[in-house]
Structures are given as structure tokens and as C-alpha cells.
Symmetry: none
DNA sequence: GAAGTTAAGTGGTCAGACCAGTGGCTGCTT
DNA sequence: AAGCAGCCACTGGTCTGACCACTTAACTTC
């Protein structure tokens, strides 16, 4: 066979290289020429692989300086996705539905595991949906859920902007403070789900 | 300034070209050489732009034939994103916890939306956990949830192999057939969650 | 010591070459 | 006329070498 394309192979090799070297955000990768040399491929193949990594938001290239690891979170990919893929109603429905389910899980988990420190943090967080709910998801103490939520939220931002009255944040905080999980869920359903279902 | 990179410009130009020409899935794009000629850029820049479009799932390249529009829907992007999101410090606990939550959601959704066709499909599916539950997730009719579950399951397989007695599959199918959502959830909790919590 | 200059290294881009598939055309055989 | 084999033009895939624009650091000069 050997029909697998070089730039795909190269993509995964660079990816593995990053993992094995344990590169952190800000760290520098070898230069394109060195990568091409080390991996025994042409520089153009290395570049095509790097483009993919760049699009995924893992790396960032600075002309004259080099290629650097990027902090997780700012994937410009999501922006592109928004304009390309989330056009259909079906995709939007899936997105909203999934986001709501994940958020309800997170809310419940957070309520159970909320520490006093995290509670204090939430009280100091500005009253925008993204900031506020991010704190909640962080309070679940489940990194995987956080990552999933971050991506869903990025997608979501390209479809809607959710603004809620300040009562929502106040009531939610009260419920969380008292660890009333059912009440917190009820508030979520009352404010968020109602608003979302209207939009559809 | 005019420092914007050529391959980015090219990316948008090709995108506009696709829109203006009203290209449909299956249609062919101009060859790389012709694009380079028409847009007055080098072929390598065209290729880097095409790689981005390919990653977004908009086009597909076939050696010897050309570049073609791809049908919407199979955005492998989400798949790719998923595998990147879920890498790194994926704690076993986080993984199992998240997977269980997602599966409970899917089970409930599937139970509500199960069509007779899907039910028939499930009955014909082999009694392994992956095959069986994949059918259930597919029955949710939510593509995004399916993607998330597939990735979670991929990682889970590296940690653990879940084998359940045939009673599980029989009882679950009975519950689904009668659309008894609570009972299905109860069966899930009885067999799967119990087994998982033991392992931890 | 500070300012300016130079050189090496890096990503960005291009042109040209060759390879490896694909598909259509031609011309031969039957 | 039908079918087949072979040729050839075209496509994406890859490599190379060359230049440009830019950054950094070492070096020179004052």
C-alpha cells in the first residue's frame, strides 16, 4: 500500500514529537528545515502538516522567530467552523441540545463538589453567562468535562449570545451556596432552557 | 501592512470562488495548477489553502482525478478536535465519570426517540458493549453526541474492556422496546455503573 | 558603555522538476 | 462493429533550491 500521504504521516509524527518532548505553551518547536531533515521529508510536506496543527490551534508561527506551542483554547478553527458548518438547523439543534445536557450534568456535579473557595470565586465572577458558567464547570473538578464544555461553548458563541437577567446569577448563587442541587437545576431550566427553546 | 499571508488570502479566495460558482457536493474544483495560475500565487500556497479546506471537511482530493466538493455532514474536524481535546492529562476518573454521564444522557434520549427501524437494528447487533451502545447513541439522532461518545469510547478502550452478561443486553432491549426510560436507566446503573465503580 | 551594523537563522513564497495514479483517446485485433 | 491494449495528457503528491521579509544576537564603531 504505502499510499498514506506524507503530510499526514508528518502531521502525526510532529504531534508525537510534541507529546514525547512534553512541550508546553510558549515552547519552541524545531525549525521547518530541521523538522524536514529529521523526519526525512521535504519542507513543503512539513509545512502542510504544520498548517493543520496551526488550524487546530496547537501551534503558532512567527515569521523570523519560529514555531511555538500555543495555549489551549484559542482555536481559530472554531471560528471557521462557525461560518462553514453550523449553517444547518440540524447542526444547531444538536449543538444546543448537547450543550444543555452537558451543562445540567456540570451544574449537578458542581453543586455536589463545590468547595468554599470555588464558591467565593463564583461570587466574584462577572455576571456574563460564559464567565459564570465556566466557573461552575471548573467546580466539577473534571478536566474532561471542562474541555468538552469549552469547545461546545465556542461553537455556541457563533450561533447565539445568551444574556440573562441578574436575578439568574443571584438565584443561582444562592442555590449553590446552600448546595441545593435540585433548585439550581430548576433555575437553570427556568432561565436558560426556556430562553433557548424560544429561539428555536 | 499587507503582511497577511498568501495562503490565508488564497483560502478565502477559493472559498469565495466555490460560493460564487455554486459548487455542489461531488463537483470538481479547478486543478491546483490552474488555481495557482488564476490567483497569481504559487502552487504550494494553493496547496496549503486546500489543506485547510480539506481539514474543514469541505473538499476531498483524489490523486490523478482532482479536487472535489465533499458532502456536508462528515466533518472529520470534530473528530480531530475531539482527539486533541481529550489528550493530555486525561485522568482515568474523569474519563469514566464523563463517559457514564454521556451514556446516561444518550440512553434517555434514545429511549424517547427510538424508531422501530432503529430498534430492529439494535436487536440485530452483536452483544458486545461497544457495538450495542453505539446503536443506542446513534438512535439519539444527535450527531454531536455520537462524536463525543466515539472519542470517549476510543480512550476508554485503552483503559478497560467491558464485558457484560447477556442478561444485560436482553433486559435492555426489552426496556427499550417498551420505551421504559427509567427502567433502561436502572438497568444501566445496575450493570455498568456497578461494574465500573468496583474497578476503581 | 551605547548606538549602529552585520550575519545567521526563521517562516513565507515561488518555480521547476519528477513520481504515481486516472481517464480518455487511438489504433489495432478479432 | 465490438473489444482490447497501449499511449498520453492531466491530476494530485513530493522534493529541491532559490529568494524574500523579518528577528535576533553578536560584532563593530564611536
Amino acid at each position: 500500500m504505502t499510499t498514506s500521504k506524507v503530510y499526514i504521516e508528518t502531521f502525526w509524527q510532529i504531534h508525537r514529537m510534541i507529546e514525547e518532548a512534553g512541550l508546553q505553551p510558549g515552547d519552541r518547536l524545531p525549525s521547518e528545515r530541521e523538522l524536514a531533515d529529521r523526519l526525512r521529508v521535504g519542507r513543503s510536506s512539513v509545512r502542510e502538516a504544520l498548517r493543520a496543527l496551526e488550524l487546530l490551534g496547537l501551534i503558532e508561527t512567527r515569521r523570523g522567530e519560529g514555531t511555538f506551542m500555543k495555549p489551549f483554547g484559542d482555536h481559530q478553527l472554531i471560528q471557521l467552523l462557525g461560518s462553514f458548518i453550523l449553517q444547518g438547523n440540524r447542526e444547531k439543534r444538536d449543538l444546543i441540545e448537547t450543550k444543555i445536557f452537558i451543562e445540567r450534568i456540570c451544574l449537578q456535579l458542581a453543586c455536589e463538589r463545590l468547595t468554599d473557595e470555588k464558591l467565593e470565586l463564583i461570587s466574584q465572577t462577572e455576571h456574563t453567562y460564559n464567565s459564570f458558567f465556566r466557573r461552575i464547570v471548573e467546580a466539577t473538578d473534571n478536566y474532561l468535562l471542562l474541555r468538552i464544555w469549552l469547545v461546545l461553548n465556542d461553537f455556541f458563541e457563533h450561533v447565539y449570545t445568551l444574556t440573562l437577567p441578574s436575578e439568574f446569577y443571584e438565584q443561582m448563587w444562592m442555590a449553590l451556596q446552600k448546595r441545593l442541587c435540585e433548585e439550581a437545576t430548576a433555575i437553570y431550566e427556568q432561565y436558560v432552557m426556556q430562553k433557548m427553546s424560544k429561539e428555536n
